[in-house]
Amino acid sequence: MDPELILRGVFFRYEQQWCLRGIDFELRKGEILGLIGPNGSGKSTLLKIIDGVLKIPKGEILLRNKPLSTYKRGDIARQIAMVPQESTFRFPFSVFEVVIMGRFPHLGLFPFEGEEDVKIARQSMRLTHTLDLAKRSINELSGGEKQRVLIARALTQRAHIILLDEPTSFLDIRHKVEIFDLISSLTLTQGLSVIIVSHDISLAAQYCHRMLLLDKGGVYKIGEPAEVITADTISTVYECPVLVDKNPISKTPRLTVLSRRGEGETLA
């Protein structure tokens, strides 16, 4: 089967310094690809490029085998949706109003949503368990609820690729797992392909089919979690000593960060 997305030799720079240098990878249909790497390694930039918000000076991106540059912005928005790390609405939009904004790329010149749009929005809310929140103001929700609403909006966009930029970074462990569970089940039931940026490497390893380790704007390693997450790769790229063993239940790699205090030394 053809990949959903192919990147070949993608370069990008904001000012002088290249922040992405020669990125190659593909996103397969129905997979969850975990994007990891230290701060400033280019993860968010990479998502914006895939999204078509930033234009690349060099390289090629194919979305369903057609160059991304040949798509109009609206066409991209009907195929790729983004869930931001955090979203602040200055004014008290209701949850339903936020979710149905996902229909924006599908509406023509007539600026009002119809019954079909409402149906799609409600269905997305059912899938993300946010239907009960419909009338609440988005600003009153907890972090986990808010992320589920933003995922519902992405589903309402009816995109087949969803990009998530650190969706769990402000959440506690229960809500982190909840979001990963949700993404995992949506991938299975809705046939979505997902790229998710996460700093929680061990958790992401339990859910991702493959992982991509980004280092200084280049692909350091890509493959199954067990191939990518080794003590060697992680400690080299993150410049931090780590221990990698196996999660006793899922058998996926488990990361323990080692203190730099030195071996044998304990807290007095």
């Binding site: 008290p92 109003e97 924006f104 790329p105 009002f112 609440r136």
Partner: protein, 355 residues
Amino acid sequence: MRGSEDQTRRPRPAKRDGQGITLVKVVITGLILLGILIIIILISLSLGPAKVSLRDILAWSIGHGALDQQAWMIIYKIRLPRILLAGLVGFSLSLGGVVFQALLRNPLAEPFILGISSGAAVGAIIGIVFGFGFHLGVPLLSFMGALFTVLLVIGISSRQGGLESATLLLTGVIVNAFFTAVIMFFIATTSDSRLHSMLFWLYGDLSQSKYIQLSISLPLILIVSGIIYFFSRHLNLIVGGEDTALQMGVEVELVKWVSFLGISLITGVVISFSGIIGFVGLIVPHIMRMLLGPDHRLLIPASAIGGACFLIAADTLARTIISPSELPVGVVTAFLGAPFFIYLLKQRGSQWTQS
């Protein structure tokens, strides 16, 4: 949980069902507000030092019965143009408030924030100092001042073609401060009757209204409102963050440029006729947002018509409350507006700013 606490403390407005906006909702709300506007206009026509009964005006306005010569003069030549201009000024300032609050993602933004008012004031005051007339010279200079200032502010704060909201706000504040100093300089060095004209202009004065001013501003306001309304869904997305808006296919920079320039143009034109009238652009959008919710497809028309109602009522008060003398209308809007706004902030301040 914090959310539920907030809910019990602040009563939620009854009208919000959170179920999205339909064309029917917009049309019905619009018609109700237009009805209120017409009632306010009719009442305002009947009020003033010379008594004209509401019944006579009603009969005249639907084409039954005529007014006597003197009443017709007062209604048609004096009160009506003033009321209509007040309506257009309120409409534009309130529309500007909604749009600037969305674009700058700042609930305290208003149309004067980019320096339109201070630029216009410098222009007007120079006109007054040099003895230009209030029919053409002063409005023209003040409009040029407003436009020049907005272009200056946008020019300073645009980098690599992008308009960054925080920079724009700061530049506006600084340019405003500078021009305020220029205005104070002229006020301090003027002592004759021109001083009175200056102060009246600075606090907003609709007593010079003419039909010609309506025919200049009306087409412009209609065109700009149409364009802005087309962008109402885009504004909804921009409120949720520019990155998300871009991702959804909103041309954020285009929306910003067109809106800033369009609003600056119409507010520049109307305040060149009316002088500076504060608080309209701040208060009306907030009331409408509380009643009808933040969706701009409903909020924009409701605020614009609501602004017209509010300013006509305020100006009627300004010209009748100490009759036969008159207050500048800006004094009335500030008297009503400032305490009301403080009340709003005390009641629901965090509703606008909490993340």
